[in-house]
């Protein structure tokens, strides 16, 4: 039944302004950023022509854009996921789902799937900007693809965290702030270590950029996929357990 929950969530998402506003605002900001980097690249290109093996448009335009998408996701995922369960609680619709025999895991997974669908659309639209350069130049499609995969996994992890935060509260804003804080902590976790020049310790392993960056550089490693999958699994399990506990605790 989580498919029914997902479809309903998707429909409700686009029946409300929040998703549209987030989508429009995000794409507007990213488009501006894209045009700036593109202009920078065009300014550089006479110099690049003289280099023996110059960095291409993928390195100088697509890579910075993908990093910008990641930073934007850090903010957008909590905003979109904040209402996932807190909103149901607030509007009194949670009993409908709970008394439907769907089960907590089904409810949580359905919502997760719908929100991931939104981020796939967002990432695809954002990456259509560098892809459009294919009209005039050679693109490294492989790196765009791995970058897209990495960003989707990254968004999935952040969404799962937002849903988990949302399952613990009735106020959506509280969930958004908690999810944002957790996301930022995971993002900057190893900043201190890197500042000290440590780049391969355990704390580096825990941080989000450590696992996102290889995708953006065209490397798909199992360890990175496992890392994101683990975050998703832990966060969604936590959310489902919290819903189960609600039956016991009231």
């Amino acid at each position: 039944m989580s498919r029914v929950v997902a479809r309903n969530e998707w429909r409700r998402l686009f029946a409300q302004p929040l998703a549209w506003v987030l989508l429009a605002a995000t794409l507007a900001v990213l488009a501006y950023f894209f045009l700036l980097t593109l202009q920078g690249f065009l300014g550089l290109s006479p110099k690049l022509a003289g280099m023996p093996s110059p960095p291409g448009v993928t390195d100088l335009v697509a890579l910075p854009l993908m990093r910008a998408i990641a930073s934007v996701l850090l903010l957008v995922a909590p905003l979109l996921g904040m209402r996932a369960i807190a909103g149901e609680r607030q509007s009194g619709t949670l009993p409908l789902l709970q008394s439907s025999g769907t089960g907590s895991a089904g409810i949580v997974f359905g919502k997760f799937a719908a929100l991931c669908g939104f981020f796939i659309v967002l990432i695809a639209l954002a990456l259509a900007m560098p892809a459009s350069l294919a009209v005039g130049t050679q693109l490294d499609w492989g790196r765009l693809a791995t970058g897209a995969l990495g960003l989707i996994l990254f968004a999935a992890a952040l969404t799962a965290i937002a849903i988990a935060a949302s399952s613990f509260t009735r106020q959506a804003v509280v969930a958004a702030i908690a999810a944002l804080a957790i996301g930022l902590v995971l993002w900057m976790l190893d900043a201190g270590a890197r500042y000290e020049g440590v780049s391969s310790s355990f704390i580096n392993y825990l941080a989000l950029p450590t696992h996102l960056e290889p995708f953006l550089r065209g490397i798909v490693a199992t360890v990175d996929i496992v890392y994101f999958a683990l975050i998703v699994a832990v966060a969604l399990t936590l959310a489902a357990r919290r819903l189960d506990a609600e039956r016991e605790r009231g």
């Binding site: 039944m1 029914v4 309903n8 409300q16 009194g92 619709t93 009993p95 409908l96 008394s99 439907s100």
Partner: protein, 249 residues
Amino acid sequence: MAASALLQLQGVSRRLAGRTIVKDLTLSLDRGCVLGLLGVNGAGKSTTLRMIAGVLAPSAGKVLFDGRDLGEEPALARRLGYLPETPPLYAELRVDEYLAFCALLRGMHTADARKAVDRVIERCGLGEVRRRLCGNLSKGFAQRAGIAQAIVHDPDLIVLDEPASGLDPVQAASIRKLVSELGRERAVILSTHLLHDVTACCARVAILHRGRLRHDGALADLGGNDVEGESLEKAFFRIASADDAQAAA
């Protein structure tokens, strides 16, 4: 009879935040019967219904649905329909979209769901608002949409928490009529603090006070030669006020 009853509550208790809300409640209900759960505010009616609907787990005792434990087989919940105190409507969905979702959620197929939605819209008199957003419904229509949601998948057991609350007398009467109709082939349990709800559509009445079951029997059994409503009122007031006197003493 007890073994085959559709719904059985066996010594069900529930504590919330350190207070005992429902204590040692034993009750059974079969198809073709409308049971009115009567009690003053705070008597534990809503908590009882939430346990029956599987939204809340009992602290002790068991809720058996067709002889099987709802806590162990959550999928059984598809065979019951539940209207909570506030109708669980998604404000941004149209009424027909919302009802279709509710039908699918309880495991109906798409084609069946469409027919079921048409049926329930007619039955609950939602025809004129079927394309309106749930968030824009008046209180009466919202309540009716809430009932429609609870019966769209043709459940065996219907659990209604104050179905007539906040409605005007005409709307309340039409809801009572609907409930009595539903009770012909299904089991219906509804909570209320209005005596008139009970006399109008229930065959059986259970009176809950301070979380305990104080009376359970056919409406007709409630004493003497009085008109039904009047004797029910007497019984209700006796139960409600006797305890208050006790508590005060």
